[in-house]
Amino acid sequence: MAGKNTKASDEQLIYAKVLEKGMAAGLLGLFVTCGIYMSGMLDSTVPVQDIQKYWSMPVDDYMHATGIKRGWDWAGHLGRGDFLNFIPIAILAGITILSYIAIVPVLLRKNDKIYAVIAILEVIVLVVAASGILGSGGGH
């Protein structure tokens, strides 16, 4: 049987716990928002009947045709059936950031400065990626 020395570290367990909660929220949310979207309960920015016109377009043409802007513009459309799905998508894509933030205090408490710095750098990288700064260049 697994002895004490095979036990996962504190930061590993904390990371796993945070990730698990985010995973559950994201996947459950996806089921709910998918149902709302497909049923047409909420109006969509792109009506479901018209979606076929857009899904074979390059992304730039799609954004030009629909008027959707780059970056976090999708957050302004969350009342729409299609963009409502971005809530669980954002949870799934963002939970790693929260998991890293959760382990930084543990690493500092253990005086594991190298890994604390790497974790903080990772948070910065992921936040920059999520912020839309890199994705919004050249948008309309």
């Binding site: 095979t6 796993a16 994201g26 076929q52 016109k53 780059r70 790497i118 990772e122 992921l126």
Partner: protein, 360 residues
Amino acid sequence: MKNKYRIWKKALPMAALTVMLLAASVQYAAAEDTQSSPAGTMQHEGEVMQHEGAVMQHEAATMQEAMTEETGSTMAWWMWPLILFGSTFFMGIAAVLAGVGGGVVFVPIVSGFFPFHIDFVRGAGLLVALAGAVAAGPGLLKKGMADLRLAIPIGLIASVAAIAGAQLGLLASKLNPGYIQVGLGLVILLIVAIMLKAKKSDFPDVPKSDRLSEVLAITGIYHDEASGKDIDWRIHRTPLGLSLFVIIGLMAGFFGLGAGWANVPVLNLLLGAPLKVSVATSKFLLSITDTSAAWIYINKGAVLPMIAVPSVLGIMLGSLVGVKILAKAKPAFIKWMVIGILLFAGGKALQKGLSLFGIL
């Protein structure tokens, strides 16, 4: 339950008969109306209606053509997402049984056989791989199979590279999607070669950690349930291994593939981590690498919910079923089937890409 089934069995034919009778009545009533007018006027009106009918038929045919041209499909809007959900469900099963990630199967197959633009397919592919990694990660971390200390430095390098890969990939697609298709085809064929040729080492011999892995304290012990032993492991060739993750991250972001096919050989064969630790850490690592690339695709508008959502749900449910039947299925057969599908999909991507350059 049986009674409800019997009721439906009787109700459906009755409903169908009712509809047919209604339709026949409407037709009959329309015919009756026509016959009540004076014959001469009726004949003229009939000719006008015939002509108008022909015009409408022609317009309908033109609209049908335009719709086909515009959408590449005459199917109802929900058909393709439904087919996508079903396909990704089976992909999820096959991926588990064949021991590959969902992303590496998803992107080539969907880009090859569905009418979606490669930009949206890659966005969805990253979310598929990410969702799978986020789902599996907590369990693997808790069991100590995935190692956080091993993953963290690799994750930083790979996630930065994945951002660059995503930016480059979307730029290349703007110039000509053929670049992506040809590149994808070649990468898929490379993946098939790796699947066929790459050896695996359950417990690589690493006599001594190198300096970098000692400084980072990348070492561990995990309990191997198969042998009942506690396995003490360490890694070496760390600088070379970390630098390879730059290329892996770039490719993950560029093609929207999960990087498990590359992570595992590097972790296992180059760095010397035990196979189970390599597979588990690789799976968990995707949640870091693909997060950064996924956000680029999200913020550039390359995530279409109608494609991404059925794909993620299909693969997740398929993976759950795959895990359940893993014990009973013949993984070797499934693996050969997946290799065959990837070969076909890789060839299709190459052909599609070359045709976009006007070569084929």
